[in-house]
Amino acid sequence: MPSFTVHTVLIVSAVLFVLGLIGVLTRKNVIFMLISVEIMLNAAGLAFVAAGAKWQQPDGQVMFLFILAMAAAEVSIGLALVLQIYHQHKTLDVENITALKDEAVDEMV
């Protein structure tokens, strides 16, 4: 049987999760951000699988399937948005897409 314990898997998934998070934080391109989010989601999926394995239940894997489905849906909408963004802004750099923000208020109504 496997020579690694459930906790090892958990740690791996945690590392993956943090990697994804770092990716989201450091990447400026929307597509890469979406990819990093996918990594985070899959890290969570991995953790579910590990937990399912720990308890000898199928639930973890079931959950993973849901995660996959949801990630697919999310990415599809995400990519649609990316297209629109590129269409409108001619860029995918999130630092340039900041039209919505608090404006300096000089005179109040």
Binding site: L21, L25, V94, E95, A99, D102
Partner: protein, 628 residues
């Protein structure tokens, strides 16, 4: 007659109401009739009442009338109730009788004024308040009158309100008397706390039982009441308002600032004599204040050039004599001096008013002169008044009333040679400035042409007052000369008789000295202002003497002192805090919020990565909490 007691204050009140509400639509003649008529009627009732009082004195020594219960809460119960005993009657008589004369005079004096009705309304209200003051049977009602006369004084000093200086004078009078009034109010609080009543008769009765002589509380109460009296009567150190108060019309000065209101302090102390007697310290304070005031004000009177300011300082000085008398325990002498003073000082003011009007509102005595022949009646009556003021022996009322005070200043149990010296110096000064006034105004060459001569409505009151200034003294003779003491007999039903020291020199010696000093004052005045004017010219060259003159002219610098000590700091504080420091505080809080808002707004910069960093911050916070 005594069942009509309430009419005495009610009639002037009625006059006030009619004139203030409907005065605008009334003819001047009607106004004059209402204004003077109500006072005259009150005077008539007073005289009838006085006769009744002398013929068949009431058993309790006083007529009392309860009008209604004013208010009662807790143990404090105050009634609107008036009373008249001998002391009160003297005051009522002066107020209504002299008041009526002054009103009659005013009908002519004020005839050209636009605000004729307002003048008489205020005057009537004044008389009413003053009557309430002296007739009140409790201190709260007395306080009502006390403040009421203050109000009227304010209204009448500032009668010609379009001149800012008049308003300032009015305000000053109100502020300074208000200081005294406040002290007096505190005195009432303390009195109530100690005795549980503000009913005068009760206080008089209870005080000796409740307080030991010299008790701190009673001294405090007496001094606080005294402070009220000082404010109203323009005594040291609250005397500065009275000279300025001359901004009002002359009849006002005569009625309020000479005859009646300014003597309210005398009345208060006399009325509350029991309290003062219980506190030797306060008696001494009263005497010392009186002596100092009479001297200081007299000195100022010597150098004034404004005819009304001379009379004003003279009034302060004369009231100083009354205080001195009160302080040494010569109660009836004080009241008697009030009585005669009311006549001659009212006369002087009215006559001065006539002069001023005739000379086209000229106030400076050195621009007058030579009026002896052109204004005969005024001259004669003024002479009577000035002589009375100077206390010309045996022929003037002033002598009969001032001489006992000089005597008691030394001879009474509380008397003291120092007080006497000040008083006798004051007598000299008084004689001097009276002479100066007469000589400068009526002798010498004419400097300003005479305009209107006073009509009969003005001269008749002058003549009556002139007779009074001479004759009023005859109802009370120094007992070593003629034993006729009608006045003190009556007054001493209310006030205790004076207690003399043992082993005194003969009173006659003192009378002699007083007479001599008076003549000396007259002579000095004669020399300096008539026979040998060169001396004065010589003095004018000396810088030191001029400095002294200016110092005296400015009333010993009290005005400047108070300005620097109280007025300036007050104005400074109000000016720097006009915007209210607490507003700053709250605006600061608001500003702080806005600044935080600015800071937080920076976090909403639209950058997605920054937002994710926010999430990271949150999770870090949560994990930190977990680990702790």
């Amino acid at each position: 007659m005594h069942q009509y007691l309430y009419l005495i204050p009610a009639l002037p009140l009625l006059g006030f109401l009619i004139l203030s509400l409907a005065g605008k639509h009334l003819h001047k003649r009607v106004i004059a009739w209402i204004g003077a008529g109500t006072i005259g009627a009150a005077a008539l009732i007073t005289i009838l009442l006085g006769i009744e009082f002398l013929q068949s004195p009431p058993a309790s020594g006083a007529y009392t009338q309860l009008l209604w219960n004013w208010f009662s809460a807790g143990q404090l119960s105050v009634a609107v109730s008036i009373t008249a005993d001998a002391l009160t009657l003297v005051f009522i008589f002066v107020i209504t009788f002299v008041g009526a004369l002054i009103h009659i005079y005013s009908t002519a004096f004020m005839r050209r004024d636009r605000d004729y009705a307002r003048f008489f309304a205020s005057m009537n209200l004044f008389v009413c308040s003053m009557l309430v003051l002296v007739m009140a049977d409790n201190l709260v009602l007395l306080y009502l009158g006390w403040e009421g006369v203050g109000l009227c004084s304010y209204l009448l000093i500032g009668f010609w309100y379009e001149t800012p200086a008049n308003c300032h004078a009015a305000n000053k009078a109100f502020y300074i008397t208000r200081i005294g009034d406040t002290a007096m109010a505190i005195g009432l609080f303390l009195l109530f706390k100690e005795l549980g009543s503000l009913h005068i008769a009760t206080i008089i009765e209870q005080a000796p039982k409740h307080f030991e002589a010299g008790d701190t509380h009673i001294t405090l109460i007496a001094l606080l009441l005294l402070a009220g009296g000082i404010g109203k009567s323009a005594q040291l150190p609250l005397q500065t308002w009275l000279p300025d108060a001359m901004a009002g019309p002359s009849p006002v000065s005569a009625l309020i600032h000479a005859a009646t209101m300014v003597t309210a302090g005398v009345y208060l102390i006399a009325r509350m004599h029991t309290l003062f007697q219980l506190s030797p310290v306060s008696m001494t304070v009263v005497a010392v204040i009186g002596a100092l005031t009479l001297f200081i004000a007299g000195c100022s009177a010597m150098v004034q050039t404004d005819i009304k300011r001379i009379l004003a300082y003279s009034t302060i000085s004369q009231i100083g004599y009354m205080f001195l008398a009160l302080g040494v325990g010569a109660w009836s002498a004080a009241i008697f001096h009030f009585f005669t003073h009311a006549f001659f000082k009212a006369l002087l003011f009215l006559a001065a008013g006539a002069v001023i009007e005739a000379l086209h509102h000229e106030h400076n005595i050195f621009k007058m002169g030579g009026l002896k022949n052109s204004m005969r009646v005024v001259f004669l009556t003024f002479l009577a008044g000035a002589a009375s003021l100077a206390a010309l022996p045996l022929v003037t009322a002033g002598f009969f009333s001032k001489d006992p005070i000089l005597w008691y200043a030394w001879g009474a149990a509380n008397g003291n040679p120092f007080l006497w010296i000040l008083a006798i110096a004051g007598a000299f000064i008084t004689a001097f400035y009276s002479t100066r006034l007469m000589l400068v105004v009526f002798w010498g060459e004419r400097k300003t042409p005479v305009g209107d001569h006073p009509g009969k409505w003005m001269t008749v009151p002058l003549v009556i007052l002139g007779i009074g200034s001479v004759a009023a003294g005859f109802i009370e003779w120094p007992h070593n000369l003629v034993h006729f003491t009608l006045f003190s007999e009556q007054v001493q039903k209310v006030l205790p008789a004076v207690v003399l020291k043992q082993n005194l020199p003969s009173e006659l010696i003192f009378q002699g000295i007083a007479a001599l000093v008076t003549f000396a004052g007259l002579y000095t005045g004669y020399v300096l202002y008539y026979s040998n004017k060169g001396i004065l010219e010589g003095w004018r060259q000396s810088a030191a003497l001029l400095a002294i003159r200016n110092f005296l002219l400015g009333g010993w610098g009290f005005d400047d002192l108070y300005h620097a000590l109280f007025v300036q700091p007050f104005l400074f504080i109000t000016r720097i805090n006009k915007k209210d420091v607490f507003d700053r505080l709250y605006n600061g809080i608001a500003q702080a919020n806005i600044n935080i808002n600015r800071l937080l707004s920076l976090t909403q910069n639209g950058s997605l990565r920054w937002y994710i960093a926010g999430v990271l911050l949150g999770i870090l916070f949560i994990i930190t909490m977990q680990l702790l």
